[in-house]
Symmetry: C2
Subunit: 407 residues, 2 copies
């Protein structure tokens, strides 16, 4: 597998575009479009929040037939809790896009991200769609990636190429996410996101294999990051597979499906980590490894409890190696734990063992927490399951950013 | 029911004391004692965190016979995750106190609050116990209340008096709590606190009535407040009832038991609100009312999700009436909700109805969120159950306080 340039337009047969249509006060790009020349197999995972934006509700309908060909998305407004007219507005975006692309409305998906509860300035959007469609380009990924950002400092895109049989296939993605990040996304219907991630691939792949790969990769990556613990109403990851690579069809439970899954997971992990590095107000990047849990779910619960703890995150901000807060989070995670068996490592330093501290020089621990990249590891000493979560510190800047996001 | 002075020493037959023994760098009081001249019926609720301080574990043992006569508590060190020696230290505090008070060790309870994982300076404590016991006084409640504080700005105590039959009975309490506050306390064994609350009463009351009253009052008060979402390893509420008021015994499910329960709830609510007003870095006091939920549990889930949302709390800090974040929290609360039926009020202003905003002048909503006391109400439109939670805003000061708590 090799990393290639081009984002969502790296896979053959995809075009993209992004422009400023007038939603954002900052006058930054706020409207994006991704289009495949051929019909795609399409799957999506969506927020499990029960309050869902119209884009989430409509996409679930449109994906029922497992097909789609275009995604139009705006930033600067979530079009959520905007009543019936919110739904009408999402549908207007879809139908004009479909008309200009000469495809069916039900093959167009829609995304929105930004403030909740404010009517979408639909006229501005519709006025810009013709130019958006006209500008679709094989090199348009970066424009699209920029146009879906909100408080993000940098655009997020990535593409990889790898062999399937005698052919080479490509997967590309663009994403955004810097606040209201605590994704818990699931297939629809859910087995188990404010982040958007749009993925394209030219692989020929069965719907089942695409679904499995997406679900598995999301569980281990996006669903294991947290910035502020607030699950969004608009989270979605959508994959469009147009089959132009002409490889032998990838089907479920084969080595090729696993290869495709690994490639997808590589992209998601890379983007998930980029979201944490770009998190609102973040000054540190933190990886939490949990091992020897009784079940995978327990490992995930503990990793996410530590990653979500405000007190742990304030300690990280202050470079204060207060591991007692980590122990408290392990205890309230909901997982099965035995306090006497918990081991806690800050970096490589073991600090808790047999229910009590392992005395270390304060200066040594301070040094670990003063770094920009910090690893916390917890060994539960009970079973064989592991999980990793990623988070950032909780800074005074985060509070400042989020105390005046709307106004 | 009338409010009377005296805290835990307002009920007849109780004495208290508090002093500085050397734990806190600030040289503020850090060791407290409450003592009843007569044996008490005693019940407690404790943190449901699976990592529990030795004081929590030992108190559960000591309360198995439903009796106790004294409580010794230190602040500045949680004596949690301090290994076997942590347990030995808690037991040393107990046995010396018992010896000097000429009572059994199993009738002494112990409490600790402060940093987790640091060995307790037991010699300093034991050296101070004789003076602590010697200074026990009918007017010692305030000293004891001061000695259990950590980051609290003010001591918390309250007492009430009310008639039971022909007699007057009294309930008094002292408490602390300003950070790591997200109590979920339960009777042991648990049906369902970093806060300490010690309660005394001179009422004659059956063990069952005392248990019921405590559990019910805690569920509606302490378990409905949150400051930072982090559940402590040391939370506890203990009630000592010494029966000196000589009232006719209060038994379960009588009007007298309900009267006692209401008095206890009044004290707990007052103290719980005081904890929020005194919360680390808080600039605002926020009440979240949820009504018309399908179940009591659903009402509680929604109220606590809003009260715990970092984004809602940042918006409160910034006086930014971003109610979309409230809607998102309702959606991820885990409760059964229908987005089209949710109504959200900021103060008296209805802002969400029929899935979309009710347009209000921005200046009007800004005014609501600029106040020091804010009410948020959510009507789920589904059932008949209600719940109330209390919280504070999330300030840059909170982050500053908690980024350097230990060092």
């Amino acid at each position: 597998m090799k990393i290639i340039p081009g984002g969502v337009t790296a896979p053959i047969g995809f075009k993209a575009n992004g422009l400023y249509c007038g939603i954002k006060k900052s006058k930054k790009k706020d409207l994006a479009l991704i289009f495949s020349e051929r019909m795609c197999d399409a799957v999506g995972v969506f927020t499990t929040n029960k309050v869902q934006a119209s884009c989430v509700v409509i996409n679930k309908e449109h994906l029922r037939d497992g097909r789609a060909q275009a995604i139009i998305a705006n930033s600067g407004n979530a079009n959520c809790m905007t009543g019936e007219s919110g739904f009408d507005n999402s549908r207007s975006m879809i139908s004009l896009t479909a008309k200009l692309l000469r495809i069916h409305s039900k093959d167009v998906l829609v995304g929105s991200t930004g403030v909740i509860g404010k009517p979408l300035p639909i006229k501005k959007i519709l006025d810009a769609v013709p130019e958006l469609v006209k500008g679709l380009d094989r090199d348009g990924s970066e424009l699209a990636a920029s146009a879906i950002l909100t408080t993000d400092r940098a655009a997020k895109q990535m593409a990889v190429e790898f062999p399937i049989g005698k052919r080479r296939v490509r997967i590309g993605a663009i994403a955004k996410g810097a606040g209201m990040i605590h994704p818990q996304m699931a297939l629809n219907p859910p087995k188990h996101a404010t982040m958007l991630c749009y993925v394209t691939t030219d692989a020929v792949i069965s719907h089942g294999a695409l679904r499995d790969s997406l679900d598995r990769a999301v569980q281990k990556t996006f669903n294991m990051i947290t910035i502020d613990g607030d699950m969004s109403t608009n989270d979605m990851v959508i994959v469009l597979a147009n089959g132009t690579a002409q490889n032998e069809k990838i089907v479920e439970k084969t080595e090729e499906a696993r290869e495709f899954g690994r490639a997808l997971e590589t992209i998601f992990l890379n983007i998930a980590k980029a979201m944490i590095r770009d998190a609102e107000g973040a000054t540190k990047f933190v990886e939490v490894n949990v091992r020897k849990a009784q079940s995978r779910e327990d490992a995930r619960l503990v990793a996410k409890a530590i990653a979500s703890s405000n007190l742990v995150k304030c300690a990280l901000f202050g470079s204060d190696p207060n591991w007692g807060r980590i122990a408290a989070a392990v205890g309230y995670s909901g997982a099965h734990v035995d306090p006497w068996k918990i081991q806690i490592y800050l970096g490589k330093e073991l600090v808790l063992k047999n229910g009590g501290r392992v005395k270390k020089k304060t200066v040594l621990l301070n040094r670990v927490f003063a770094q920009k990249n910090i690893k916390i590891a917890v060994d539960l000493g009970l079973g064989k399951y592991s999980a990793t979560a990623w988070t950032c510190d909780f800074s005074t800047s985060y509070v400042r950013i989020n105390s005046a996001y709307r106004t």
